[in-house]
Assembly symmetry: C2
Homo-oligomer: 316 residues x 2
């Protein structure tokens, strides 16, 4: 059943031992939200443990600075920023039917918990956690502020995406006043690159080809390129935004070979061109400016098919 924001503090206060679940392939919002909630609950004398399917990437270590590591049997299981129990990952799926409270900002939330609070207008789940802490009158110190700021900043691409609202900025301002080192957080979250990421980026830039008077740019990433760069899946995240960033490019395409030899195609377009319609030609879909599809065949064949499919859109 749905629960109101104002009911969450009472819910939390009436229980004592919490597991807080995050989603797999964790990001700054699921971890920032979980750690913020954990720190807050610790402050009012509760036992709390943050769980994640995956090993936490070192860049998120700072979020855990205020979180105590304890072992105990949980009395209550809460999930944060988890839109669907399938996103818990194999290690946490045993909790799927036992989640008592789910706090999330995804409109697509599957409402799997006994009590569900979903706020799709929120840029980050961390914004919801901030509002809960305010109602609970919990003092926000630097470790808490670090978690909340990180959640908001990472989910809005450092205030770049359209999901950032005035409230996102205002909460961030409050966190700065609590002493958060926003500059350091953003450097770690956005500016740092692994050697492997650098290598694969270099190779991907080398693969770039232009079509239709430079209005279409295509890059590719093969398993061989990834192996040579010693890159993992997390190193190739976000590459799909590269071709569209080039001045004059209206359609940016990224062709990524998967482990099974098939290809995942990501199409990013200017508002004038419908990415979703391009991908529908290959039984894919998505949004106006960002869509995708899967294809099989040789890289060259796939590239030719896509270039051909784009023709009508770009020459209109």
């Amino acid at each position: 059943m749905e629960i109101m924001l104002e009911e969450i503090p009472g819910f939390l206060q009436s229980r004592d031992k919490f597991y807080i679940l995050t989603h797999q392939y964790p990001d700054g919002d699921t971890l920032g939200s979980a750690c913020a909630l954990a720190i807050a609950l610790q402050k009012i004398g509760k036992k709390v443990k943050v769980l994640c399917n995956d090993k936490i990437p070192p860049k998120y270590d700072m979020l855990f600075e205020g979180v105590m590591s304890q072992n105990f049997e949980p009395e209550c299981i809460v999930s944060v920023d988890v839109a669907d129990v399938q996103l818990l990952g194999s290690k946490l799926e045993k909790f799927a039917t036992k989640i008592e409270l789910s706090i999330d900002h995804h409109a697509s939330n599957k409402k799997f918990a006994m009590y569900q609070y979903t706020e799709p207008g929120s840029a980050a789940t961390a914004e919801i956690i901030y509002n809960i802490l305010k109602i609970m009158k919990i003092e926000i110190d630097i470790p808490l502020a670090t978690c909340i700021y990180t959640g908001i900043s990472t989910d809005t691409g450092c205030f770049r995406y359209a999901n950032a609202t005035p409230r996102s900025y205002r909460i961030a301002a409050d966190m700065l006043e609590k002493g958060v080192d926003a500059c350091k957080i953003n450097r770690i979250m956005f500016d740092m690159k692994s050697r492997e990421r650098l290598e694969i980026e270099r190779k991907v830039l080398d693969s770039m080809e232009f079509f239709y008077d430079n209005k279409c740019a295509i890059i590719h990433v093969t398993q061989e390129m990834m192996q040579k760069a010693n890159a993992t899946d997390s190193d190739v995240e976000g590459l799909a935004s590269i071709p569209r960033q080039i001045e004059g490019v209206l359609v940016g395409v990224t062709i990524r070979e998967k482990k099974d030899g098939s290809f995942k195609i990501s199409v990013r377009t200017d508002e004038e061109i419908n990415a979703s319609l391009i991908c529908e030609k290959f039984e894919g879909g998505g949004h106006l400016c960002a869509a995708g599809c899967s294809m099989t065949g040789s890289l060259q064949e796939i590239k030719e098919s896509i270039v051909d499919a784009i023709k009508d859109f770009i020459l209109d």
Copy 2:
């Protein structure tokens, strides 16, 4: 003489025909501030013209959408975001001794105007303009909000740098409420790359070498590389931040060949290593984490000298 913020509206209201000067190599803050002030003054019936030494790069066109183009003889000359008359550039230097009001946020401001308002705590001059508009009770519409948001966002690196204050975030929040398309602005200001920039970045990444157990990374840009990429000086801006962004790198060095064949060295370091002390070895200097020097010789000799100079700092 110094003037107080509260005196600026009266100053502006008592004059009718304004030239607003910006600094050369214009950025989002000098242009955003100038255009915001121009739009505001137009709203209260003044004649205004924004001047810049350089051709305005197309990405700033949107700032000028609310600015009328008029020809007239000025009654009053105002400069915004100009720290020193030398930064006006050759085309505007004739106004250097005639500036009646200077509005700026650089602590290094040379106080060249008859009336001077400098607020070094302000992340951007656009924040000062916003405060002036508030006192003047000028309604902020989308064109005005676009100018103010752009000034703040560009001067804080999209809220990434340490200069962004709670006020910066809160004014940005206000501008979002006025209907500004922050997502579009930030995409244009931060994500767009020219083909030439892409080319030179690719070449620069290929030049990267690592030393001292990958704790030092060095890149170089030669005139030949720039010619091959068809790149201008503006295309190589910001390259110096690349080597330090790699995980584990404590000292990032960029060696850039100038047109006269000499080299400009930029050193970026982690807080543990003093970049300024490294550059002092070559009669340069700077700050703790960012410093520079000039050197002559062959690229290879220079690289060897720098690698050698860094040794003591990195192996400590």
